[in-house]
Symmetry: C2
Subunit: 323 residues, 2 copies
């Protein structure tokens, strides 16, 4: 090999190392992230953190993928209610199911969280874990977002995919900590985000172990409800991970306590809030949104040392390039 | 370097590779384990399993450490009841606490699982996660086993430590799936077994997130009880890990369903039961024991293709050598 080739290769390699976040603009947000990662991974640095403690948690809806005009799992639930309607003639006269069957989204959601939970239970319970995986997988393969026409699992944020990969390359273990359903998330988290099922924390219902014709199955049952949102997020982190993250990312006030818990620990900590500011390339919403409301985080985040990423300002691209 | 040195180093390295389980005797048990690991890790083998699916789960009491004359966590609970007694004058007249305070172990345990749970709740709830870690850590540092005089966390099985390390070296992710308390286990699992908190599944009570003088804490609360035993083990695996293990090890009928669930999956599977057959070096018990009862596993295990390790026959040593 002639020296120039070596230099060229070296320069390319260095450029790759130098920019682990190519879809992030060169703003203070990107610098804050990279500075944090470098200081906790540099041996001898006063802020060095051993790899075992490099736990990073990410909200999903609105943080790793879009969440407008409503949570994507709600689209799944609505589609599932329609598919199951023939087996449930009583739903025609029973809210919130009746509204769903009339394509009245507003009516279906007017019952608030309670109604959504009731629908989630009705459509998630009763399936074995294998059946549930297949039903959700089939849905993801065929369903399309009403505005973009894209598959839901392609509406993930390229800059966040890079951030996940960057943290993992630097010895972090990345977790999802979402208000969404843990088993729903697990269907696509590994392929989409590189996050294995055992690193997914989410809302959950119970499960029952039983034998069917001598074959053991796990069946989802409508009890033991756990809501992994707000104060539930540190609780979910405690139960599943068992130690405090040093890095947490979210986008709504449902993530407030996760960031509070994370950044209240000793030593270096990073709290990141994704602010949806880009009506043109994605959606723009915060204090008044019915999903992903972000108000307290905007008010208190900066004083708490949290970094607020503006999608419009900080992100070069939103979704991954399609092949 | 002269060739002989290289050969010598190579030979040493090969010997190390050739015997990943030096504390296991050269019996069919050891051969079955090694054969399994080799076939699932050999690329091109029809039984090859990708690393992400190499999930191995281990019971703790009686599988990774001893459990006689009673579960070690019960010793903790008894010691804790005595320490807390001055704050609970009512315990003097209330069973099972009264028996504990009179050092009447039999009386304390005569209420069965319900009494043990009541004592576990009373001694575990109310502490923050940090307080609980400190109390258990202090106890482990000072408490000694009544028969051996050893610290409890030194009464771990050297052959099983080697098995954990061997599996991890071969790309497995190792988990504890125990009827013991998840937070109790997490205090020592990382140092003792190399298993991080996020890979510990166990029985649990609830937790509450709250602010104390502006500082967020997680407090253990006596609700949301989950018993990670028998049918609860596949459920705990499902909730925490989200996929079926390909390797499971236990020692009692409390592990039956975990092994059943594990070995009912498609492809290569391994079920291991540790049989306590060594009264001289450890303890000998099975069908009639009040802890770690093993009966159905002995009857049905062999027909199900499970491997039964006899401590007396298969293990060269029991506990790690002390320095």
């Amino acid at each position: 090999m002639k020296p120039p080739v070596v230099f060229l290769l070296l320069a390319t390699a260095m450029a790759a190392v130098a920019d682990p976040l190519p879809s992030w603009n060169e703003t203070p947000t990107k610098k804050a992230i990279v500075d944090f990662v470098e200081k906790v991974t540099t041996k001898g640095s006063p802020d060095y953190v051993v790899p075992a403690e490099r736990i990073a948690t990410f909200d999903n809806d609105g943080c790793l993928w879009s969440e407008q005009p409503m949570y994507f799992q709600a689209f799944y639930i609505f589609d599932r209610i329609k598919a199951l309607a023939p087996e449930h003639p009583e739903w025609k006269d029973k809210e919130p199911f009746a509204s769903v069957l009339k394509d009245d989204v507003k009516g279906a959601l007017s019952g608030g969280e309670k109604a959504l939970l009731e629908m989630a239970m009705a459509t998630h319970a009763g399936l074995t874990d294998e059946e549930f995986r297949k039903v959700v997988g089939d849905w993801l393969a065929t369903a399309r977002h009403p505005k973009t026409g894209m598959p839901y699992d392609k509406m993930v944020f390229q800059p966040m995919l890079e951030l996940l990969a960057y943290l993992r390359a630097e010895g972090f273990k990345t977790f999802i900590v979402s208000g969404g359903g843990i088993d729903f998330l697990r269907v696509f988290a590994e392929d989409t985000y590189g996050i294995p099922p055992e690193q997914v924390v989410g809302s959950s219902i119970g499960a029952k172990y039983e034998l069917r014709d001598g074959k053991p199955v796990l069946v989802k049952i409508p009890d033991s409800l756990f809501i992994d949102d707000k104060e539930g997020k540190p609780v979910g982190i405690h139960q599943h991970i068992g130690r405090r993250p040093i890095f947490a990312a979210g986008n709504s006030d449902g993530d407030f306590q996760m960031l509070e818990w994370t950044t209240a620990g000793e030593g270096p900590r990073f709290g990141l809030l994704v602010h949806h500011t880009d009506a043109e390339r994605e959606f723009a919403y915060d204090r008044d949104s019915h999903v992903g409301k972000l108000s307290r985080g905007l008010d208190e985040g900066p004083d708490r040392g949290w970094t607020i990423a503006s999608m419009k300002r900080d992100w070069k691209t939103i979704y991954p390039a399609t092949e």
